[in-house]
């Protein structure tokens, strides 16, 4: 299916459009459900009126101050993780290529733990995570660089860095005093509880800046999936595209981790689940972002309700999603 308008033209896959639309609706539904329910239930019409600014004062307090920021943060962080995962799976040409496994998330954790131990404020901890993630990525990229960065070398160097940082993290945890260790431990599982607008806004800004870049590199990245030579033959500057894509993927992962802690497995599973649904060749950015948003808000909702009143950290739920995803990969490959 194609759409042409004057000199403009795009090629559209109807199924991908429908799936995208459905994912938007599901994300919205989950968001409304997450805002409406909890210890104090707000009827859905009140949620909607409160969201648009004419609710009762109580509803506005609960919706606008407490629940909406958390849900919006979840949506944005999920989208950022989904996009980041899509980028790295495309670059590594592997459904297991995820920032979780190649040291970036672990580097963010190191920064976050150091922030906690240094007694930093929430903002400083977030800054530590951001710096840790970006710093790790620069190091991994530099170490993997040998006349260009091949996807597999990035993965292997990343795996080495991941192992190193994970043990540095546990060393820091065993060294820290018991209170810091507990705070850091909680932060490490990843959580959306207590997230306010000041968490959501940086992620929103990052997405606003980085989404156009994503759109710009997504087409050449699709060509690179066919091999470096094939892409170069099409006139793509492979190294430049790859470096840009890595930068975008790392920044998304860093910003998301800074906001919600290292929530692992969303970046891993969102792109492939989206791909299964859209039946598109290779990973698709938009659907991956939407799927990430749905997965994270859905997991957060479940984490709050499954064992209510006990609140689970959302990271526990996403770990379960990760396990289920691996099982899915296994099952698919059997036939």
């Amino acid at each position: 299916m194609s759409l042409r308008f004057g000199p403009w033209s795009v090629r559209l896959a109807p199924r991908a459009l429908v799936v995208g639309l459905v994912l938007v609706l599901v994300a919205f539904a989950v968001a409304v459900a997450a805002i409406a329910t909890g210890e104090f239930t707000v009827p859905i019409p009140d949620v909607l009126t409160a969201l648009f600014g004419h609710g009762t004062p109580v509803a506005e307090l609960i919706v606008g101050k407490l629940r909406a920021p958390r849900v919006v943060t979840g949506l944005l962080v999920g989208a950022a993780f989904g996009l980041s995962g899509a980028i790295f799976q495309s670059l590594t040409r592997n459904p297991l290529g995820s920032p979780d496994f190649i040291g970036f998330t672990a580097g963010a954790s190191t920064g976050g733990i150091l922030g906690v131990i240094a007694g930093g404020t929430a903002l400083q901890i977030a800054g530590g995570a951001l710096a840790g993630c970006v710093g790790t990525a620069v190091l991994v990229y530099a170490l993997a660089h040998r006349g260009g960065v091949q996807g597999y070398r990035l993965v292997l160097v990343g795996i080495g860095a991941n192992a190193l940082l994970l043990s540095v993290n546990s060393y820091l945890l065993t060294r820290a005093n018991i209170n810091d260790a507990a705070t850091a431990g909680a932060w490490l599982t990843g959580s959306l509880s207590g997230r306010g607008w000041d968490h959501a806004i940086p992620v929103a800004v990052a997405l606003a800046v980085l989404l156009p870049v994503c759109a710009f590199v997504s087409r050449p990245m699709r060509m690179i999936e066919m091999g470096d030579d094939a892409a170069k033959a099409m006139g793509i500057r492979v190294e430049a595209v790859r470096a840009t894509a890595i930068a975008v993927g790392v920044l998304l992962c860093a910003v998301a981790t800074a906001a919600a802690g290292p929530v692992i497995f969303v970046a891993l599973s969102a792109p492939q689940l989206a791909r299964r649904l859209t039946r598109s060749p290779g990973v698709t950015m938009a659907a991956s972002a939407l799927m990430g948003a749905v997965l994270l808000t859905g997991a957060d909702l479940a984490a709050q309700r499954v064992l209510a009143p006990t609140q689970l950290p959302v990271g526990v739920l996403t770990a379960a999603i990760g396990g289920a995803y691996l099982a899915l990969l296994l099952r698919k490959d059997r036939h």
């Binding site: 597999y152 860095a161 192992a163 990760g322 691996l326 490959d333």
Partner: protein
């Protein structure tokens, strides 16, 4: 069956891998053993409180009940023996895995096997309250076996087959899921968490000689089975079909290797927690010296890996006195750069 006989004699008399210099290699094995003894002595003598070697010898031959002697007999000696056992087990497991999968990056920690075993132990201790090592080690075996099956299936799926990078990525993924589940279990039970916090990073400290005695039989069986697999593994190095053509029972060799790896990784992890990289670098270094013949690679690895582990453990005790850095962290700090160097240098099959 004249043809079959010919093939067998060929295998027996003319190993495909050049034999090298048996006398020199056997001598080297003695040297390696000597080095292991020296490092073991160092491990007994050095630590938060270092004691002179003469005191060590006294403590071993004529204990007088002094606090130095008690520390040596009750803590340092069991810890050292545990290090030797765990090192030998993980080193041999790594060498076996690298040989069977023809994958230079195979390592029990990297491929998620040790994390699987650790999840088994966590379940046994955290949920079922088992405390006898000989009982909970079975959970470790179960976890290790599950992990190896899943990782291998994931790593060999897809069109390209089990490339080294794919397998490594599958191992990391599975290992991280297992670790996440284990930490979720521990978070629900703060008492167990406190007990297992150090074990989960990998530590030789805090295990009694009783634990060692309960786990030793499993390690020994795993080591013996592994060493006996050297000859068929030599043949399989040429490929499954070539191995079969040379008269190797391919399936039996694979199953026995898996059993040996499971016993080794399960018991080692039950004793010291999930350790990374012990099984990675040592077989590589050994192969660079003795060549590709598994009949030498396996015993050499078995002696060299505990040297590395004990040295890492001693270093961990010395650099942070009076505290110590757990050996698991030391292994990662030493092993990860080696792994990254390998990744940079080797031209591995692309994804």
């Amino acid at each position: 069956m004249p043809v079959g006989e010919q093939v067998t004699t060929l295998v027996a008399d003319e190993p495909v891998v050049p034999r090298g210099r048996p006398a020199a290699l056997a001598g080297g094995l003695v040297v390696a053993f000597g080095v292991l003894v020296l490092v073991a002595m160092a491990s007994v003598a050095l630590g938060a409180r270092s004691v002179p070697l003469s005191t060590v010898l006294d403590a071993l031959t004529a204990p007088n009940g002094s606090s130095d002697h008690t520390v040596i007999r009750e803590l340092r000696v069991p810890r050292t023996l545990l290090g030797i056992g765990v090192g030998a087990a993980l080193g041999l497991a790594g060498a076996l895995m690298q040989s069977l999968t023809r994958n230079p990056l195979a390592d029990p920690g990297l491929l998620g096997i040790n994390e699987g075993a650790a999840l088994g132990v966590t379940l046994a201790l955290g949920l079922f309250g088992l405390s006898d090592p000989a009982a909970y080690v079975w959970f470790a075996f179960g976890g290790a076996a599950l992990a190896s099956v899943v990782v291998y299936a994931l790593g060999s799926s897809g069109r390209s087959g089990a490339g080294p990078v794919r397998l490594a990525l599958a191992g990391i993924a599975v290992g991280m899921v297992f670790t996440a589940v284990a930490s979720a279990i521990l978070r629900m039970d703060s008492q167990t968490f406190d007990r297992m916090r150090f074990w989960l990073t990998g530590s030789l400290a805090g295990q009694t000689s009783d634990v060692l005695l309960r786990l030793a039989p499993f390690m020994v069986i795993g080591l013996v089975v592994g060493l006996l697999l050297a000859r068929p593994l030599n043949m399989l190095a040429l490929g499954d079909d070539a191995g079969k053509a040379l008269g190797v029972a391919v399936t039996r060799t694979r199953v026995l290797t898996a059993v040996s790896v499971t016993l080794l990784c399960g018991s080692a992890t039950a004793a010291a927690g999930p350790l990374w990289f012990v099984g990675l670098a040592v077989p590589h270094a050994v192969r660079a010296v003795v060549g590709q013949d598994q009949r030498w690679v396996l015993p050499y690895t078995m002696l060299a890996a505990p040297v590395l582990l004990l040295a890492a453990d001693v270093a961990g005790r010395l650099i942070a006195r009076p505290g110590e850095v757990q050996v698991g962290i030391m292994c990662a700090v030493l092993g990860a750069p080696i792994f990254i160097l390998m990744a940079r240098r080797r031209r591995l099959a692309a994804l």
